[in-house]
């Protein structure tokens, strides 16, 4: 990776560079060695990427990587879902930018990183570049451009007229996400008049994202319950939660996935055991719940005991006090660790390939087994790594933005 020259961003670039890189004789030697190494590495990578690598393995299998063996004649459902998702993303994005934080007065605080214009620019660049790089047909290229345009249009419109919306509508808008999730499930799996598509036909990025979102959505409430149980005064709840959390955290995920595939069939009466894909999804959920519980517990520990006592002495019932007084404060503290667990969960979906499911990594391994693409390991795994890196880094950035937004102590500036 080439070193970015941050020197241009500051006054006195040369002095800065000299202080940072050549502060002492030893520093100078280290800098020269590192620079030499970086330049050599960058040159080697560029030479490989341009002359030796054969990227056709990616473009020829792009559909496989995206959706696996999803039936071709049913793929319009995925396009429809992508369009809806783009619309919802654009709306939420625009509103988050435009609306002040509820309950705050005075100058609008920093709600959202100001540099989100950069994100929009990157999105446009990606939309322009990706179809060309993947050598998609014109029809599909046009679809991607239309979807990107729709997203940006929705963002602009929501930012322009978002403040004029009545408060009730504004409050209801976040509900489009759970609704969209249910619609998406129906669109992907079928039912309600649509042709069924068996889970064994889902694959690639579709399966990875589906598993990750399913597990993230379900493990969160489970984890909160477990964390509350572990800090409960009732011995049965406390010991039960403790036993569960420690058992799960003591076992590697792969053994639990293996257990799900091999023993779940014995535990349930014949025919009741879910499909292999759903078994894995439930194992992922129950696995992640134990880790999320530990993250939430650290947040609960940060809330002074007086908060609960005060709420109780005001006459609030236990569940009410927990939901409205303790948990909001605890979640603010637990947010970074919880999102960290979600990122780990997204990475852990790659383990599905070890039990024979065709997630992104599993698809890559089947592509590698195709004699036409023998020995193209480096290209495929590099692309996968970049893809995962972007997803995880985006989650991390989102978490930091949310932290800023939720921080009550942050003085509204500018």
């Amino acid at each position: 990776m080439a070193p970015a020259p941050p020197a241009t961003l500051r006054p006195g670039p040369w002095q800065w560079l000299r202080r940072e890189l050549f502060g002492s004789r030893l520093d100078g030697l280290i800098s020269i060695a590192l620079l030499g190494f970086l330049v050599a590495a960058a040159l080697g990578l560029a030479k490989w990427a341009i002359f030796q690598a054969q990227w056709t393995v990616i473009s020829a299998n792009s559909t496989l990587f995206a959706v696996g063996r999803y039936p071709l004649e049913q793929q319009w459902r995925l396009w429809l879902l992508t369009t809806l998702l783009a619309l919802a993303t654009g709306l939420s994005w625009g509103l988050l930018r435009a609306l002040p934080r509820s309950g705050s007065s005075g100058p609008p605080p920093i709600l959202w990183p100001r540099n989100d214009r950069w994100a929009a620019a990157i999105l446009v660049l990606l939309a322009l570049w990706r179809p060309l790089a993947l050598q998609l047909t014109l029809a599909i290229q046009l679809r991607w451009w239309a979807i990107t345009a729709l997203l940006l249009l929705a963002r602009w419109a929501a930012g322009r007229w978002g403040q004029a919306l009545p408060p009730l509508v504004r409050r209801l808008i976040p509900l489009i996400w759970p609704l969209l999730y249910l619609v998406g499930m129906v669109l992907i799996s079928g039912g309600l008049g649509l042709v069924q598509v068996a889970p064994s036909d889902w694959g690639g990025l579709l399966l990875t994202l589906l598993m990750a979102t399913f597990a993230i959505l379900l493990c969160f409430p489970l984890g909160v319950l477990l964390a509350l149980g572990r800090r409960s005064n009732l011995p049965l709840l406390r010991w039960g939660s403790l036993l569960y959390i420690e058992f799960i955290r003591g076992a590697p995920l792969i053994t639990l996935l293996f257990l799900g595939q091999n023993i779940l069939g014995f535990l349930l009466p014949g025919g009741l055991a879910p499909d292999r894909v759903w078994r894995a999804a439930w194992v992922l959920t129950f696995f992640a719940a134990a880790y999320v519980a530990e993250a939430v517990r650290s947040g609960l520990a940060a809330v002074p005991a007086g908060q609960l006592e005060a709420a109780r002495s005001l006459g609030l019932s236990m569940p009410f006090a927990l939901i409205h007084v303790v948990l909001p404060q605890a979640m603010r503290v637990a947010l970074p660790a919880t999102v960290g667990q979600f990122i780990t969960l997204l990475q852990d979906t790659t383990l599905l390939s070890l039990i024979g499911l065709l997630d992104l990594l599993g698809t890559a391994r089947t592509v590698m087994a195709n004699p036409a693409f023998l020995g193209r390991n480096a290209e495929v795994y590099l692309v996968l790594a970049v893809l995962f890196w972007c997803c995880c880094a985006a989650l991390g950035l989102g978490s930091r933005a949310l932290e800023t937004r939720l921080n009550p102590n942050l003085a509204p500036s500018r």
Binding site: L237, G250, A251, P252, T255, N262, F266, L351
Partner: protein, 320 residues
Amino acid sequence: MTSRSAAPPWWRNRRYLPWLVQGVVALAVGVVVAFLLTNLLLNLTARGLLLSWSWLGQPAGFDLAETILPFDASLPYWRAMLAGLVNTLRVVIAGLVGATVLGTLIGTASFSSNGLLRGLARVYVEVIRNIPLLLQLIFWYFVVFLALPNGTDAIQLPGLVLAKSGLFLGDPQLVNGVWQAPLRFTVEFGALLTGLVVYTAAFIAEVVRGGIASVPKGQWEAASSLGFAPLLTLRRIVLPQALRVIVPGLNSQYISLAKNSSLAVACGFTDLYSVSETTLNQTGRAVEVMLILLGSYLVIDLVISALMNGLNGLVQLKER
């Protein structure tokens, strides 16, 4: 709010409520567990797989690519699993040492006076942490280690040869186009170890960085005003204080390294998990194999935890 004189209904009485809640939870959990266990017993009886351990003594019938304990296909299953366990322990111990060394180096590099070094340490952590370990292991195995040259083209250093057939230490000789040496590590072991070390080091670097950052800046300044060189300050003043924060953080990283070693199956290394998988596929003894597998990892985790807790007791501040 209810008035003081009217007694609350029995289901809201503070004296009974805890028992009521626990009773309901116990009943629900009990019913679910009983349901699952009944099914397990019924299903296992139907297939003639009721819990038994005698199959452990039968000959395994499969061979293991790489073991320290002598092993061949005629030896019983329990020997195969033991050999797998020893392989797991080998990679875990080597991984712990390697990841600690690399992680400490990278963690301390983020406090260097050299801006480039600091930046690179940051980039390392951010890149490695956001890529799945399994993908990294596969990358190391298929892209790096399996692409190594063989025979005379192998990478040769004094006393060390790195070829596709493995890493040879201690005066390697080329006999009939095949490298031979007193000490040989396979590429499977090498790929797994490299992947685990590189991945865990990123997390350990963060732990070390957090620990060093927790030492007040005045400690650095006081040491340098007493004439300590930067490296000496780090070693004698800052690290001993930082260790109090670092050791508990290392504990959880070590345990995740031990658990992550089960991904060995992705690069063809025969660890405990991969032997168990083969055993299960051959014998069909799902419950027993899972019990052994989960029990072994639990014991490894507990041992690491116990050792680290002992170490933690040593480095904590001793108040007089």
